[in-house]
């Protein structure tokens, strides 16, 4: 692991403890906020949740999963009453139709994508449906590629449901026996015939019909969803409609039939189940006082110590409270909001506030860490031990391979130390955090998970070491784990048990307990419908394009790690701007020309890549910040972070920020004179024009030879 080249700016945790105490004395728990990640281990998140919710008693704890999987969790809760992936990766091996909604799996989950490629090369390949405004590798192999105008996903999925219902392609017996809410769906989608959707989405009507026919006649349908839906307009409403396709077709809980509401980070699932992401530990329902009391008993604290008077505070509100000054202590762990949040000029002004005491734990001196009052060097995943759970509920153990360098410590050790120095105690005076090892914390987490959907009680470290990969729930009754949830339509959405009573999909207002009890007394799957309304920011004469942001396979998030891996860095060394051939022709833009992209928030510069993206849309990758530029933490001469441009707006239910619908304009600054865009020639950024562009290759360092004897 490469060390931090910049000097640490004070690492004494006492400073943190003194400030936390002072702010608690002055204002109380509401002065403290924590913003964590999707890349720690289960035990670390669980401790952080215990410290924040149980020890300090603040509702202000969220993860950067808010930017990646919040809508996945929200959609699962709306439809099934609980988070937890219904399907399993193995469904890829059995499905006869795989539908990927806003999910460029080839560049976001490349290992899983290989599994699909294997199926496509095999004897009985599945049909592929792709919804994406870009010509992704998924789109290239798809039987039907739908490239809707950004912000219109809900119209498209409503139209697909319209076709499925009006053609009788749904399982009426399953719907009758296991669901509530079908009538409302039927009534709503009646207003979305394919012709109407085709006009709004600007796609061929026949493609909608073809896709619906394939979905409607699938025998084993696997649907997957990712950021093209989660970070777009009406995110939760749209992701819920994908659930509805599988629900009304009875395509759940059987081999090949399932839903994967995907995650974008390695341990995002753990952030969610341990309550470090704006939920309570063990998928407990903050508005069900019995469940909160149960958690308080486990934690040895009074029930009113755990904030449950309103939902745990989501990230964008935490930032707003920091902006207005009511949060004065903010601890950011393993994430880089100075590059990853929308409208960066605003975010920098918040992080840079004199009154805000900012602590940052990270492996490297990220842009965000450069704003910090205290930086805590953290150990990376290979430098500590912990449990690690993926999208389809599979729990692994990740063992420490090497010791952390210098002063770096695991987040677990840091949290334990913080809790002790802050003298956090239970209601009987016993220390709140008496443990020293990850395995001890895993054992108390198991107790916390007992009886909940994410039940870990049948798992031990030894069992994980003996054969990695056990899918929760894993109990005495299911000692080998559980491959699929909701087999035979047995849902777990009973009012007393469920994690969430749901929301108004358009306003985000929570459904009250009594209403939910009336709606769904037996705990069936909930079919929820929603009408489309146009995105808040629409293209105009001044800003005629829709800007969408995203990633390339070569980088992860803000390049804090991948930018330091030379081969990855060389494959995608700088920001670029993608536009379609026809838009390029209209603007007299060629490959490699220097462009400015401007929105009402800010501007960036990057070289043009003419790609297979739909007309009227431009794409900018979100990876590039400033740590390896002269600006350090902010732009010096030219902006290059996509989030200089994005709008501050979020889904009303999942509170996930929108990164896929901003109005922008493109200005040609200078001809490229033969220069090429730094965009990779692989993946969705592959060039489509006639210009020769040097291919993205691994080079000598990327080759290996193997001799088989």
């Amino acid at each position: 692991m490469e060390g931090n080249s910049s000097r640490p700016r004070g690492t004494t945790p006492w400073v943190i403890v003194e400030r936390a105490k002072a702010d608690l004395a002055r204002q109380g728990p509401s002065a403290l906020g924590f913003y964590t990640t999707g890349q720690l281990f289960l035990e670390e998140y669980y401790l952080l949740g215990l410290i924040a919710h149980g020890g300090i008693g603040t509702p202000h704890l969220d993860g950067n999963t808010r930017l990646c999987t919040a809508t996945a969790a929200a959609a699962l809760k709306e439809s099934f009453g609980n988070d937890g992936q219904p399907g399993s990766y193995r469904d890829i091996d059995y499905a006869d139709v795989i539908a990927l909604f806003g999910h460029n799996m080839a560049e976001t989950q490349s290992v899983l994508w290989m599994r699909i490629l294997d199926r496509l090369e095999g004897s009985d390949p599945p049909a592929i449906i792709c919804v994406d405004p870009r010509l992704t590798p998924v789109a290239r192999v798809a039987d039907v590629h739908l490239a809707p105008r950004p912000g219109t996903n809900l119209v498209l999925v409503n139209a697909l449901l319209h076709e499925i219902i009006t053609n009788g392609w749904y399982d009426a017996d399953y719907v009758d026996a296991h669901t509530v809410g079908f009538d409302e769906l039927e009534k709503t989608v009646k207003e979305y015939p394919p012709e109407h959707a085709a006009a709004i989405c600007d796609i061929p009507v026949e493609d909608i019909r073809s896709a619906a026919r394939i979905l409607g006649n699938a025998e084993r349908l696997l649907s997957t969803v990712l950021q093209g839906f989660y970070q777009s307009h009406q995110a939760t409403a749209s992701a819920v409609q994908v659930n509805n396709i599988n629900i009304v077709r009875g395509m759940l809980g059987k081999p090949g039939a399932g839903v994967l509401q995907m995650n974008g980070q390695p341990t995002a699932q753990n952030t969610r189940e341990s309550g470090a992401d704006g939920d309570l530990a063990g998928f407990r329902n903050w508005s069900n006082v019995e469940q909160v009391a149960d958690l308080a008993r486990l934690w040895n604290v009074e029930t009113n110590q755990i904030p449950h008077h309103s939902p745990p505070t989501h990230l964008m509100s935490i930032m707003r409270y920091a902006e207005t000054g009511s949060i004065s202590f903010l601890w950011i762990i393993g994430t880089n909001p100075a590059v990853s949040l929308p409208e960066l000029a605003r975010i920098r002004s918040i992080l840079g506030k004199e009154e805000l005491f900012l602590v940052v734990s990270d492996l490297f001196l990220s842009e965000t860490a450069q704003f910090a009052d205290v930086v805590l060097p953290a150990a990376a995943w290979g430098e500590k031990t912990g449990a690690f759970t993926n999208v389809d509920r599979t729990v692994h153990i990740s063992e420490k391979a090497v010791s952390p360098p210098g002063q770096a410590r695991s987040d677990l050790d840091t949290f334990i130390d913080f809790a002790r120095r802050l003298n956090l105690r239970g209601k009987d005076g016993a220390p709140l955090v008496p443990w020293t090892e990850a395995e001890q914390v895993f054992e108390v987490w198991k107790e916390c998970s007992a009886g909940r959907p994410c039940d870990y009680t049948g798992i031990t470290y030894d069992k994980l070491r003996a054969g990695s990969g056990i899918q929760w729930p894993c109990t005495d009754e299911a000692p080998e784990g559980t491959e699929r949830l909701y087999v035979d339509g047995q849902f777990l959405a009973q009012p007393q048990y469920c994690e969430d009573y749901g929301h108004d999909l358009l306003t985000g207002a929570p459904v009250e307990k009594v209403e939910y009890e009336a709606l769904n007394p037996q705990g069936r799957a909930v079919i929820k419908a929603a009408h489309y309304h146009p995105p808040h920011e629409q293209p105009s004469d001044e800003f005629p394009f829709v800007l969408t942001t995203g990633r390339t396979i070569y980088h992860f998030h803000t390049r804090t790690k991948t930018g330091r891996a030379p081969q990855l860095q060389n494959a995608a060394p700088d920001v670029w701007v993608e536009l379609s051939q026809s838009d390029a022709n209209r603007l007299s833009v060629e490959e490699g020309d220097m462009l400015a992209v401007e929105t009402a928030r800010g501007a960036i510069q990057g070289r043009a890549r003419i790609s297979g993206i739909r007309n009227g849309v431009i794409f900018v990758p979100f990876h590039y910040g400033y740590w390896d530029t002269d600006g350090g933490k902010e732009p010096q001469n030219r902006g290059r972070a996509a989030n200089e441009l994005t709008i501050t707006d979020w889904d009303p239910v999942s509170k996930q920020p929108l990164f896929k619908t901003a109005a922008a304009r493109v200005v040609k600054l200078a001809a490229g004179d033969g220069a090429s865009s730094p965009a990779p020639t692989t993946g969705a950024s592959a060039p489509v024009g006639s210009r020769e562009v040097p291919a993205t290759l691994g080079g000598r360092a990327g080759t290996a030879s193997e001799e088989v004897r």
Partner: protein, 160 residues
């Protein structure tokens, strides 16, 4: 159409119009509270839609509901409405006051729609009943949105 029902339609139309205006005004003055800004605009559009539907039904009945025709009775029925709170309250408290005001107005509006639904059933007027059944839930959702936001933001506002 009976005179009292016509009057009620005027009351509702005028109230929907004012709710829409207030929502937009609240959004403008809390632009930095992004959820307030965006949602008030979405919800104002619902009220605009209700006004359009009211006008359509009225036109088909050969009447105009334009506010210019409001008489004293309509004004009296609408009740005394507080103006939006003054701008010089500190912004977080102003937000609470604004949300409280819009919540109560929308609750009142949903009651007006309820009265219309009942009256329509009494008169066996299906068009009016459908209109009321279409719009009344929206007024309640608008009210509940404001109330849910009050629940979320009030502890933090009152803590400082």
């Amino acid at each position: 159409m009976k005179a009292k029902i016509e009057m009620l339609l005027r009351v509702i139309r005028s109230a929907e119009d004012e709710v829409a205006k207030d929502l937009l005004a609240i959004g403008r003055r809390h632009q930095s509270d992004h959820e307030v800004y965006h949602l008030t605009r979405d919800l104002a559009e619902w009220s605009h839609e209700h006004v359009r539907m009211l006008d359509k039904v009225a036109a088909e009945a050969g009447i105009s509901l334009d506010a210019g025709h409001d008489d004293d009775a309509v004004t009296a029925l609408k009740g005394a409405r507080d103006p939006l709170p003054e701008q010089d309250i500190e912004p977080p408290l102003l937000l609470l006051a604004d949300l409280r005001r819009i919540h109560l107005d929308c609750v009142g509006l949903s009651v007006d729609w309820e009265v219309l639904a009942q009256a329509a059933q009494g008169e066996k007027d299906d068009r009016l009943l459908q209109l009321a059944q279409r719009c009344q839930p929206d007024a309640l959702r608008q009210a509940r949105w404001a109330n849910s936001l009050i629940k979320v933001v009030s502890p933090q506002i009152m803590a400082t």
